[in-house]
């Protein structure tokens, strides 16, 4: 009875409508990606198609002029690692501390963490330039120092992922239980709370990696080399290779997010 009522009066679209909409939008969104693939397969002046460039990339036969690109990929991976480290060392303990001891500060922390959405990266760069002239005097001008700025850029995403996890466990009861059994604060943090927060932390780390690998604005205007700025430079020398690497990094980020989705849906199941 309920079933038939749902069927005829359900607000959801009919099967046909659903697939027409998804098909049309999907097709429009596939076009630029298809044209990118087509572009990388184009033969030179004589026309036709060739997979030579993909072969060159995958067999590691890229000439020395692309050394810059490998360096840039290394830089981006290093930046991703340092950004995740900054997040783990600075943000996670602070969020746990606020949840446990300063519940009144929660809204303040949320406001601060979501603030980077309101302040465009391009605005931040204007003020970061003088800050970085001091930073490079203290830490040298290594590319990893850029991770300080990236830590700020990923704050909103990291905060949301971790806070969702914090809300789903009872931090207070867990830590009081551990304390009453004689555990020190270190044990509470590393053996009780962090294991319970691993899904949120994992999701936050993945999204941080995706954001860092796609970051262009800050690196480009502070004259540092990362994956995106190097792609633009390579594009001037050999646009085909640049597009191949853009497609590969896109694919990498997609797989990363599918993994996040899996992690998220597992945690949803556990909760229900």
């Amino acid at each position: 009875m309920t079933r038939s009522l749902n069927r005829t009066h359900s607000p959801a679209p009919s099967r046909a409508t659903r697939w027409i909409i998804l098909g049309a939008v999907g097709l429009l969104f596939a076009l630029p990606l298809v044209s990118m693939v087509e572009f990388t397969l184009r033969g030179g002046l004589e026309g036709g198609y060739t997979i030579d460039r993909w072969v060159t990339v995958f067999t590691g036969q890229l000439g020395p002029e692309f050394r810059q690109l490998w360096l840039a990929i290394g830089n981006s991976l290093l930046l991703a690692a340092v950004t995740v480290a900054i997040m783990l060392v600075l943000l996670v303990p602070t969020m746990i501390l606020v949840q446990l001891s300063f519940p009144r500060l929660r809204h303040g922390l949320e406001f601060i963490c979501l603030l980077p959405i309101t302040i465009p990266a391009i605005v931040l760069v204007v003020g970061l330039a003088p800050v970085y002239s001091v930073v490079s005097r203290m830490f040298g001008s290594g590319v990893w120092t850029l991770a300080f700025a990236y830590g700020v850029l990923v704050l909103p995403y990291a905060y949301r992922a971790i806070q969702a996890n914090l809300d789903s466990i009872d931090v207070k009861t867990l830590s009081e239980a551990a304390r009453s059994l004689g555990a020190g604060w270190g044990t509470v943090l590393f053996r009780v709370l962090i294991p319970n927060l691993r899904r949120g932390i994992l999701a936050a780390s993945f999204i941080a990696v995706a954001v860092v690998l796609g970051e262009f604005t800050v690196a480009s205007l502070l004259n540092r080399v990362n994956l995106q700025t190097a792609l633009l430079i390579v594009n001037k020398a050999d646009p085909y290779i640049a597009v191949i690497f853009a497609l590969l990094s896109l694919l990498f980020a997609f797989v990363l997010l599918v993994v996040i989705g899996r992690v998220g849906s597992v945690s949803r199941k556990v909760r229900s």
Partner: protein
């Protein structure tokens, strides 16, 4: 003493979020020698700068509205699909990538699609006799940003609007059906009014997203100065724009003012929208 644990994060946020923001906005009020001046702020009223702000605003508004409508349509099509199914998994991840990962990649994509030698451009030209560049090449000007921007706006809309659509209670549909309402009555009298605050809120978020976006435009036009972020680039890389130093600071201030207005409106609407989303 108890507050000492908050110090590391506090110091970090102060140094890399608060200080840069204050510096960015503050430099707008001083000249090259550090003396207070209003000339940078006056420069915001320069017709060139006003045009640039206007470009940014109409570009953001146009792509936000288009993106919001298309994105909402996709969300509607996804209604009552299994949240942990394969379809949703693919749509969620693809939206995440395309919304986050734009920038340089998007510029490449649209050059390969509708550049001078682009796939679609050549097909339209050779097979249908349509020359999309009959009035000149617009891909590298401000109008050329419309399509790439829509390309990252739709995925963002899906990410932010889908939760609101899923929070619609099935009981409302049942109640409407019991009282003899059709699907059209349900959407017209219940669904759309309930979703309106979320929809406008998402629209504002999309506007903010486009307004602050820099990478796509920078990658597409290496010399262009048509929108505010590009104007900031020009002001940062050469000190002589309009003969004024620290113009970048004034432009940054202008951007912050627009963004703050949008985000204040957004949080108000969000509060209204959350009334219907309590479980």
């Amino acid at each position: 003493m108890r507050y000492l644990g908050l110090a590391p994060f506090g110091a970090y946020v102060l140094l890399f979020l608060a200080l840069p923001t204050l510096l960015a906005v503050g430099t707008g009020f001083v000249d090259g020698d550090g003396a207070l001046t209003a000339s940078n702020i006056e420069a915001l009223l320069d017709p060139v700068i006003l045009t640039v702000f206007w470009n940014s605003i109409w570009l953001s508004a146009l792509t936000a509205v288009t993106g919001a409508v298309l994105g909402a349509l996709v969300c509607y099509a996804l209604l009552e699909t299994r949240p942990d199914g394969v379809l949703r998994s693919i749509v969620d991840s693809a939206s995440g990538v395309l919304a986050q990962f734009g920038g340089v990649m998007l510029a490449f994509a649209f050059v390969s699609l509708i550049g001078i030698q682009g796939l679609l451009r050549v097909i339209l030209q050779n097979n249908f006799g349509i020359d999309i560049y009959a009035d000149g090449v617009w891909l590298y000007e401000v109008p050329g940003l419309v399509l790439p921007y829509i390309y990252f706006q739709v995925p963002l809309m899906i990410i932010v609007f889908l939760p609101a659509l899923e929070a619609l209670k099935p009981q409302w549909a049942e109640a409407s059906a019991t009282l003899g309402g059709t699907r059209a009555t349900y959407w017209w009298r219940i669904g759309i009014p309930v979703l309106m605050p979320s929809f406008i809120g998402s629209l504002l978020l999309l506007f903010a997203n486009a307004f602050s976006s820099y990478a796509t435009a920078a990658a597409l036009t290496s010399q262009g100065q048509g929108i505010v972020p590009l104007q900031i680039r020009a002001a940062l890389t050469s000190e002589t724009v309009l003969g004024r130093e620290n113009l970048a600071g004034a432009l940054a201030l202008g951007m912050i003012v627009v963004m703050t207005l949008v985000m204040v409106l957004y949080s108000r609407l969000q509060r209204r929208a959350s009334r219907w989303q309590q479980r």
